[in-house]
């Protein structure tokens, strides 16, 4: 699980081209949107693409992704749950 969390942080930095941000600087539970990394609606769409491209998970509706995108931790939980089903 902590591998997945770390992997997600690496992918987020890469996909969202976050300059000068290291994966270690991203707090597991910090909000991704609004405050924290201050991501916006286009970033959310980019993360949807990332989920399909790297984790094979398809999100049809952006609303479906909303609870998953709260934090890196919630994203990891979402992926883990989807993989089980």
């Amino acid at each position: 699980m902590s591998d997945l969390v770390h992997d997600l942080k690496v992918k987020i930095v890469e996909f969202l081209k976050l300059d000068g941000v290291t994966p270690e600087q991203i707090d597991d539970n910090a909000p991704l949107f609004g405050s924290g990394l201050d991501l916006d609606s286009i970033d959310a769409l980019e993360l949807v693409v990332m989920l399909e491209a790297h984790y094979g998970i398809i999100i049809k509706d952006i609303e479906e992704g909303r609870p998953a995108f709260q934090s890196v931790r919630s994203l990891a939980d979402f992926i883990t749950a989807r993989r089980r089903s």
Binding site: D40, S41, I42, L45, V49, I62
Partner: protein, 385 residues
Amino acid sequence: MRNAVAIAGCGATTAVGHGVEALRSALLANTSGLRPCARFDSRLFQSSIVGAVPPNGHGVDEDDPAFYLADTALTEARAQATKVLASTPVERVGLVLSTTKANIEALERVSDGRPCAEPARRHLQGDLLAADLAAAHGARGPVQCVSVACVSGLVAIQQGAKLIQRGAADAVFVVGVDHLSAFVVAGFTALKAIDPQGCRPFDRDRRGLSPGEAGAVIVLTRADRVPAPAITLRGWGISNDANHMTGPARDGSGLAQAIRAALAMADLPAPEIDYVNAHGTGTPYNDSMESAALRNVFGDRCPPLSGSKGMLGHTLGAAGVVETILCVLAMRERCLPGTPRLHAAAAEAPAALVVEPRSAPRLDHVLKLNTGFGGVNGALLLGHG
């Protein structure tokens, strides 16, 4: 406002057919040109419902659709403006092209290794497309290519007016064109901005836009060269929300600023506006923002307004030009355009939203609005008589 600029002729190739007459019929009947198109398989794209120009027997030029759409509209516009053009030396005829993607078809072909001959390839570049259109249609005066997202068309009309006002040209072809492409439909799909059921501007259940294509031309000249009652450009305004690249400022303050600038340039108070043609893409955010902007400027007294993208789809760089032509047709017919594909108006939409076309006691002052990615807002004020 310096020397008045008037409209001497129009041409259009759109989803409702070839020619301005097809637009006029669609306006009066409130029809929609949006249809499922096999080219945009809804397994790969968010929707296959688009505003595609129907083949008319000659067929759409396959490797140079941008040139074809603009070329056909130019031919029609020139025929409408024969008298003015006959008395204008070619060096005094300019051309301003508005496009977001020019002949993007060429990039798709080259990337796939499919054949793409010249001049289709060079028309990938907007300035070269503009130059070739000018050469093909007897415009040896100043030539420009403007590209300001979905506000391009209104910016191009302003640029044309300024060329005439400063004496750099006596007639200007303002050409708006964008063609339907996988490039654009895939992009809006990635942004999840398309309504799977086709756009429904200002509708309570709207979910997004419908991509469209068009070639549209307005011939501008000095007002004293056109018989009365002429349709003139009374004022305009451009502003930026300075807020977000793809989402409009929620309170509509940027668009309100552009509207106020147009009113100020025309020296016209807001209550004199007889009709507003909205940008009305059908996305949840855009239409709410426009409703807010109109409330900001007009308070509870919003003039009759409607959205035309249910008829033609979102034609991007052509939108400002073809939708201005719709306004011109409405003014000549003294008919308020309806809002095709609207079923149930959203709660926040102004009460003055026109659903079905109806005749108007007066259509002398009309406002055309557009907004675009990068936070740009535009307003154009047309006058009649």
